[in-house]
């Protein structure tokens, strides 16, 4: 009869074991997705019509809404050709600050429509290098740059090229 008592006690211990050998907790994973940033080019950067002159020079479009034209050397504008600063409409998360990154100097050239001649575009400027989006998540920025014109030996005609402007949330 003595042996009968022992198994009963041990049986209780077996039941008690899982209560101390196991624990669980619940956790939460969260992420907040904001609107992707988008930008569209509304106006193209355009240096208009000009003559190179004997020794060339530069022609600059200001990075402003007005896009004022200035020239150096023997370069002279002759009117026409719709000179303009570039404008970009940005859309994204309301009230966020957006950083604008412009092309590096030396990275952008305009090529003649038929010949091999090129002209370099550098010293890009922007109306605001950081811009805060409105309460509706919109903003507009203007980009200008300086075109270097060689001497009168350069082919006349239409020159064009592309460049990249990067917009990113700050």
């Amino acid at each position: 009869m003595k042996k009968l008592i022992v198994p009963i006690i041990l049986g209780l211990l077996v039941i008690g074991f899982p209560l101390t050998g196991f624990a669980q907790v619940e956790a939460t994973a969260t992420a907040e997705l904001v609107e992707a940033l988008s930008a569209s080019e509304e106006d193209q950067l355009n240096f208009g019509k000009f003559i190179a002159g004997e020794s060339g020079g530069t022609i600059t479009v200001a990075g402003t809404a007005a896009g004022a034209i200035t020239t150096t050397g023997t370069v002279a504008t002759i009117g026409g050709g719709a000179p303009s600063s570039a404008s970009f409409d940005i859309s994204g998360l309301a009230s966020q600050t957006v950083k604008v990154t412009l092309p590096a100097n030396g990275s952008v050239n305009l090529s003649h429509s038929t010949s091999a001649d090129v002209m370099n575009v550098a010293s890009f400027t922007v109306s605001a290098s950081t811009v805060t989006l409105s309460s509706t998540g919109d903003a507009t920025v203007y980009v200008g740059a300086t075109l270097t014109v060689p001497n009168s030996g350069i082919d006349v005609g239409v020159y064009s090229g592309t460049y990249q402007v990067t917009f990113a949330y700050q």
């Binding site: 041990l10 074991f17 209560l19 050998g21």
Partner: protein, 172 residues
């Protein structure tokens, strides 16, 4: 009369033998259980949830945003807001129990976060094995940190996404 007494005696022996075998099994199991009963109970406490904060999807491509086990996002800056509206944290749990005892952690390796757009899959990057493999509770306290990789679809719909998961610890 003599025959009847003999039968009764035989039956008694048989019952006694059977009972003895049962005692042998119970005693063996009971010894192990008695040892477990005196150790410190295992427990797990959540210190922080995992929160990726404000993320920015790509308009055109699916991206994976990676958070390390300390709560820092290591993906390209264009995919998250530096000034998040909520603090970024990795998940962190404190596990306590009997020093040196072996135990295991069970936690899903991936969960889905649900929100206004498609579900996003979060794949955990744990500091301790969470697949139930054997661990040692060194010093009686261990910390489990969970970083992870969150898969965003191209132009993932804006809004809050959440998911819940259980973390279980058990002695072995």
């Amino acid at each position: 009369m003599k025959t009847t007494v003999l039968k009764f005696f035989t039956l008694s022996v048989a019952i006694f033998a059977f009972t003895n075998i049962s005692f042998g099994q119970d005693t063996s199991t009971g010894t192990a259980s008695a040892g477990a009963n005196i150790i410190t109970p295992i427990s797990i406490v959540k210190v922080t949830d995992i929160n990726f904060g404000d993320l920015v999807p790509s308009l055109s491509t699916a991206v994976t945003v990676v958070m390390d086990q300390s709560g820092t996002i290591t993906s390209d800056a264009q995919y998250f807001l530096a000034n998040s509206s909520t603090p970024r944290t990795a998940a962190s749990f404190t596990i306590t129990g009997e020093a040196g005892h072996t135990y295991k952690i069970n936690c899903p390796e991936t969960i889905d976060l649900e929100g206004p757009g498609d579900d996003m899959t979060l794949t955990f990057n744990p500091s301790l094995a969470i697949d139930g493999s054997s661990l040692t509770l060194t010093g009686g306290t261990q910390t489990l940190n969970l970083g992870g990789s969150l898969a965003l679809a191209a132009n993932q719909t804006a809004g809050a996404y959440t998911g819940t998961f259980d973390v279980t610890v058990a002695y072995e």
